[in-house]
């Protein structure tokens, strides 16, 4: 069969479909690629990249406002992810292993931030925190992040717990471990990969969040997305692209580390 005939055969079969899929993937990833290209472009304008340069990255690292924003973002996202992890895991565990009234209702409330237009949470929290003096503070910001990351934690940990046979914990009980010992020696180690991936997901989500942060940050607590947003609203500074690039690298690194620790399959129980 000639090459052309083979190509035609492939196209008529799965080929056309696969090309379509590839095109959609490209559509997905395009803006990310672009941000990368802009960041390494030595020319300070919007347009096709002319070369390769790291000058914008250097500028970012020199600007104290960016560095402060990085520190804020990392700190708040980390604390929020851990807080959401602990409270969400306890809830998921109680949900799966115990029967109590309101279990379904709580679960619905806990996962509802996912189904809500994200701006609502920011607005509501600002209105509520302002009179109590929490707006513009780290605490307020962290609490806001906990609210939006909790659904991911609850869903991920709940899914992981569902997979495991409750008989495993019963076995531990019959072997002499009480409920607390069973939880720490058997349950937690078993779901650890799920917990790690949930925490990473929560961290990354909080890190990149704009719609809640924009209402809850003050001059002292500015986060990276908020800073990018305010800079970009007025200028087309490629420094921002460099920041975007750094974010991409951070997230990629996190994904790789997580993959090494727990495997990609575990990571993707979204």
């Amino acid at each position: 069969m000639t090459a052309v005939a083979r190509l035609r055969r492939w196209l008529a079969g799965d080929g056309a479909f696969k090309i379509l899929v590839a095109a959609i993937f490209l559509f997905l990833g395009l803006p990310v690629i672009v941000a990368f290209l802009i960041a390494v472009n030595p020319r300070p304008t919007i347009g096709m990249p002319t070369g390769f340069s790291l000058r914008w990255f250097a500028e970012v690292l020199r600007e104290s406002s960016w560095l402060a924003a990085y520190a804020n973002s990392l700190l708040t996202a980390l604390v929020a992810a851990l807080a959401a992890l602990v409270s969400g895991t306890l809830f998921a565990y109680a949900s799966v292993r115990y029967r109590f009234r309101g279990r379904g209702l709580f679960a619905a409330i806990a996962t509802s931030p996912l189904g809500m237009p994200r701006i609502i949470i920011g607005v509501a929290l600002l209105i509520f925190f302002n009179p109590v003096g929490l707006s513009g503070t780290f605490t307020g910001l962290i609490i806001g992040f906990v609210v939006i990351t909790t659904p991911y934690i609850v869903r991920t940990v709940g899914a992981v717990l569902d997979v495991y046979d409750p008989a495993i914990e019963e076995a531990a009980l019959t072997l002499g471990a009480d409920e607390i010992q069973t939880f720490f020696r058997v349950t937690l180690p078993m779901i650890a990969p799920g917990l790690i991936s949930a925490a990473i997901l929560a961290f990354v989500y909080a890190f990149g969040n704009l719609q809640v942060a924009i209402f809850l940050t003050g001059p002292e607590t500015v986060t990276i997305p908020v800073l990018m947003f305010s800079v970009l609203e007025f200028e087309g500074d490629p420094t921002v692209a460099a920041v975007a690039c750094i974010n991409i690298l951070i997230v990629t690194a996190v994904i790789l580390v997580a993959n090494r620790l727990v495997g990609a399959k575990n990571l993707l129980r979204l």
Binding site: A167, A171, T174, M190
Partner: protein
Amino acid sequence: MSATIRLHSLRKEFDGVVAVDAIELTVEPGLLYALLGPSGCGKTTTLRMIAGLETPTAGAIWIGEADCTHVPPYARDLGLVFQNYALFPHMDVATNVAFGLRMRRLPEDEITKRVAEVLALVQLAGFERRRPKQLSGGQQQRVALARALVTRPRALLLDEPLSNLDKNLRDEMRTQVRDIQNRLGITAILVTHDQEEALAIADRVVVMNKGRIEQIGRGEDVYRRPATLFVARFVGTANVFKGNLSGDGHLVAGTLRLPVKAADRAGERAALVVRPADAALRPAGAGALTGVVEGHVYQGALRRYTVRLADGSPFVVDVPDQGTVPAPGSTVAVTYDPARCHVLRGVAADG
């Protein structure tokens, strides 16, 4: 070391549904008891209550000399083998087996010694470092057994441990389990729905139905002298005929006059249980019962014939696979030795 287990008026309700209805049972130390019954009869619930994983709605559980009804499972000193083995997936075999010993804070060298000992007992010596997912079903089962036994518990509880294995492996494993139980002399309670298994390895069979105990006895007693029609039908196959005793050695069941070994009590309601293996096919006219051969099922060592009697009721007869084979549609006589066939009297006859 091996304890007596006593159940007094043990009752369990789930949301108003009675799963176990006031059962009484004494499990003698060192013996293997089989809780046998169909799904939903309450046997697993009973076992779980003994283990402490379910709290009884009413009644008491005595293990040894103490009332353990409200003692938590981790303080009962029992070993439990689960149907799906429930091995800890994140630990290797040795750590799995050693878990109970670690909970009891035994010194490390003692733990290593005992783990090696018990693994040798279940013929898994050298498997210490393997992970559960690397093991076959039978091997996982043996690890589960080892894990339950290593702490030298007062009794061993097994919840349908063999039902996930294929037939040949099951037969092999049940012999192994029985051997180990015998050797250790440990009290054991085995839950199963497989009556062949129960008859094969248990010292006592406890037949349960709808939350109640229908009969407790040796396998042979349960088979030969079932206390209720449910037991007669559940344990092995049974030809059951219900009617009234004639007083002269027959049971009148509709139009049939069946020879029985009971010669007294005319008029009493009774039921005759004839096991297929205790019946035989003869040329027509040679016996009191006549019927037409409907067909047979070939089972290797024997053929199981269904004969339609004059009044329409079926009669199952097991015929060894030798000699001539009665053709379907032919008329035959069915005979049996009344002395070997059990008669249920009175209320039991209406099961």
